[in-house]
């Protein structure tokens, strides 16, 4: 329905434009059922239907954007028409934008997935049945998401599909829990039941006496989820061309050759394999792959259209210049042998609340969370009391990196600030020789 609506709005705009004016439209819409769980029961259930349209009016090198919440009905035409005088007035008050860059070679395309999800109520029933007797907490988000682009040159892009994301934890006691994320486009109740049962089995390990570590350096194994937290932090400007040029990138020392990462580290943005649309707000089609780091050396950054104009480059990303489909190359350590390879050290299932403690040194602090364990001679012997780490990625993924696992795990972002996230990561686990814990 919103696809036809966007076409209608674009056609109306075409008729309202004045001489010398152009536009882009960016639509992001979803119909999502959000169901929160606590103690294996429902805490809060509801539906959100929203559609946000960004209308960018362009005249010469001037631009201004108005975001509108759409109803999906005829009222939206009046809303759109009403925004035009305000944007025209704004254009009179802003300067020419020397870094405005829009796609002028229309590349239309559509990708629509078939309807495959059962009603949300039956998914909730499956979850409650699987969670019976367990202290399960988390959220199910499911429903349809669509993205659209149109411009005055006649370009039209559309992506639409149903998906679900169930992010949950099974609690043992206190802050001890096993956390899992499941996501997809087809619902699989049997897989859900297996996942909860497997997590429940692991709770037994969390009931072992707690191990409290003294601050210091320890061997560590990061599961793909834990490694994802570190790389998520790196995504705060680390792969952005704009941040590199303004010296704010945490990878600046790598870019300038003052620091190196391990030859095991090869990182890319693989837009073609992710959930985010390949088209972006300026109308450019993102490449299927962008090589960011190859064998420990900087290869490139994500370049939004503004940076492309400013620095004379080709755009290869959205304006935020962050990775939406991050891929880290696999290593050769079989995942089944990770504990043995760790020997004695810490097994990190999840990390939490990371931040830069010294951005220019790519130094990151954060906490252990959920099922983290102390391992001796390749065997889990105790759950770990929460520990704070403070270490540099140049160290953890540099000289201290010993191995990456041969198997990788696909991690879908469960967050839903303003709208459901579409970012994802495909990551191996990582074994490091020394990681610094501080508190």
């Amino acid at each position: 329905m919103m696809r036809a609506h966007l076409k209608t709005l674009a056609a109306a705009l075409d008729g309202w434009l004045r001489e010398g004016e152009g536009y882009t439209l960016w639509l992001q819409a979803e119909r999502t059922d959000f169901i929160r769980f606590n103690h294996g029961k429902v805490r809060q259930a509801g539906r959100v239907e929203q559609a946000y349209l960004d209308l960018r009016l362009i005249k010469g090198a001037r631009q201004a954007t108005q975001q509108l919440s759409l109803s999906g009905g005829e009222d939206d035409l009046a809303l759109l028409e009403g925004a035009l005088p305000e944007l025209r007035a704004a254009l009179e008050q802003v300067e020419d934008d020397p870094f405005l860059l829009l796609n002028e070679r229309p590349q239309s395309g559509e990708r629509v997935q078939p309807h495959r999800l059962p009603p949300a109520e039956s998914m909730v029933a499956d979850i409650l049945e699987a969670a019976d007797g367990h202290d399960l907490v988390g959220i199910l988000a499911c429903g349809d998401m669509s993205f659209g682009f149109a411009n005055h040159l006649g370009q039209f892009n559309w992506q639409q599909g149903e998906s679900w994301n169930f992010d949950w934890s099974l609690y043992s006691h206190g802050d001890k829990a096993v956390k899992r994320n499941m996501a997809g486009t087809a619902w699989d109740a049997a897989s859900l039941r297996r996942g909860v049962a497997e997590a429940a089995e692991q709770l037994a390990l969390l009931k072992l006496p707690l191990k409290t570590l003294a601050p210091g350096a320890y061997r560590a194994y990061f599961t793909p989820a834990a490694l994802g937290s570190l790389l998520g932090m790196l995504n705060w400007g680390g792969v952005s061309e704009k941040e590199v040029r303004s010296k704010r990138s945490p990878l600046l020392k790598l870019v300038e050759g003052e620091a190196r990462l391990s030859p095991l580290v090869s990182l890319e943005e693989a837009g073609g394999e992710g959930l985010s649309p390949l088209f972006q707000r300026e109308g450019f089609i993102r490449p299927e792959r962008v090589e960011l780091i190859a064998r420990g050396e900087h290869r490139g950054s994500l370049i939004g259209p503004r940076s492309a104009r400013e620095f004379g480059l080709e755009p290869n990303a959205g304006g935020d210049e962050d990775a939406e489909s991050m891929r880290l190359a696999a290593g050769d350590l079989p995942r089944d042998e990770a504990l043995k390879a760790l020997g004695t050290g810490v097994y990190l299932s999840n990390l939490w609340y990371l931040n830069f403690s010294d951005r220019s040194a790519c130094r990151i602090t954060g906490m252990t969370r959920f099922a983290c364990f102390w391992v001796e001679e390749g065997k889990i012997v105790a759950p770990l009391g929460v520990m704070r780490f403070d270490d540099s990625l140049f160290s953890l993924l540099g000289e201290q990196l010993e191995a990456l696992t041969a198997e990788r795990e696909w991690l879908a972002d469960p967050l839903s600030y303003e709208s459901r996230a579409t970012a994802s990561k495909l990551l191996p686990g990582a074994l490091v020789k020394a990681m610094r814990f501080s508190l």
Partner: protein
Amino acid sequence: MFETIRRRFQALRPQADFCSLRYVEEDSEQLRVRQGRQQPLARRRDRGAMITVLDGGGYGYAATADLSEAGLRAAFERARGWARATAGRGVFDFRGVKPPSPRGVWQGEASEPSWPRAALLDLLLSESAAAKGDDARVVDWSAGLWRQDVRQLHLTSDGGEVEQRMQALTPSLVVTAFDQGRVQTRSLGGQYGGLGRQGGLELIAESGLRGAGRRVADEAMQLLYAPNCPSGKMDLLLMPEQMMLQIHESIGHPLELDRILGDERNMAGTSFVTPDMFGSYRYGSDLLNVTFDPSLAKELASYGWDDDGQRAEKAWLIRNGILERPLGGAVSAMRARLNGHALDSVANSRASNWNRAPIDRMANLNVEPGDKTFGQLVAGVERGVLMQTNVSWSIDDSRNKFQFGCEWGQLIENGELKGVVRNPNYRGISASFWRSLKAVGDASTFCVMGTPYCGKGEPSQVIRVGHASPACVFGEVDVFGGAA
């Protein structure tokens, strides 16, 4: 629009135990200047409604921007559907809840919005130019103004009706300096909207934005050549620009009752505070007094009623260091009571927008002033560091073990302020840190801060919070610098 929404809600004649409609409309605009050039102008007009239904002990909501009668009817049906589908399967039986039926109008601190766009852009360009000067070491510099005008209407099926309006302005200015491989960033009021307040254009003058460009750039340059912050246990003088973060993370979030009840364990976390601690737990030294005050003029999260319709009033959470009350709305307080904990609620059940359901959220959370002037605070420190303006924040799942970093540090030796130090960080444990509070600044050191970026909830929500505080001194804190 309010009258139309009223009429359409009345036409719904909802068949349910209880139904409410919360309509939110927001107009906002962001003016930004970076590296001496205007950034693309961004405006927003957002409107929509959330229908909430209690029926048969279940709870459901549905949010829609389709405000036609048919759109609201469909939302009601969906919300009632969820209420009925989850009745008897929830953590709480809503038949025990008597939702408020509030009546009234609340208008925050503001005048009718005047928005001289061209003049404001000129101001930002001027401060931006002053920040850059002709210094090649200034590699990134930006300034901005973000105005928001939010109007809300809350209607209940038993005749309740509340109108509220909040207008806010958030000025910002950030400068990054680089030389010989070293980078330092300094800002006006923080890089995350710390100067946000309710009000109009008078906030520009109050924020100190005029004339800030040169000063902030000069401070970035001082930091660039300053020695690394020393390490060790020492006194720590926190200014309000960092106190706001300390309060937010290690008092605000731990006291949110929905965390204590376990709702947030999967994402935002839990709390080291347990329900039995209220009334007796020593949270801080005798000098610590903390209030929930949604009535303070101009603070970012001032309001008259929360999003469940509870009247908002000032409440003491910590008095003379003893924990008294949690930050929990009416539903959370009732859940706690059913578990045997007689806790009073405060009106902090809030939603970030029309498309998110209310959850327990700190609002204006403030440390009350003490009796020491700034000079007396400094004079009382034999060896320590003053820290100002948060730049890095991290705290554990239960809001206990924290590590925070600031943009600005200054040594204090023998009761006197000395030289600037860069990359000042400190760490500690909430449960003991506040007990090390040894001096509290008076009203002359008190400052109203806030942030529009507090994240929490499933689904995720970003909300406005306010934090006012005096400067405070803490003893024997673990202080350290950057990677040198």
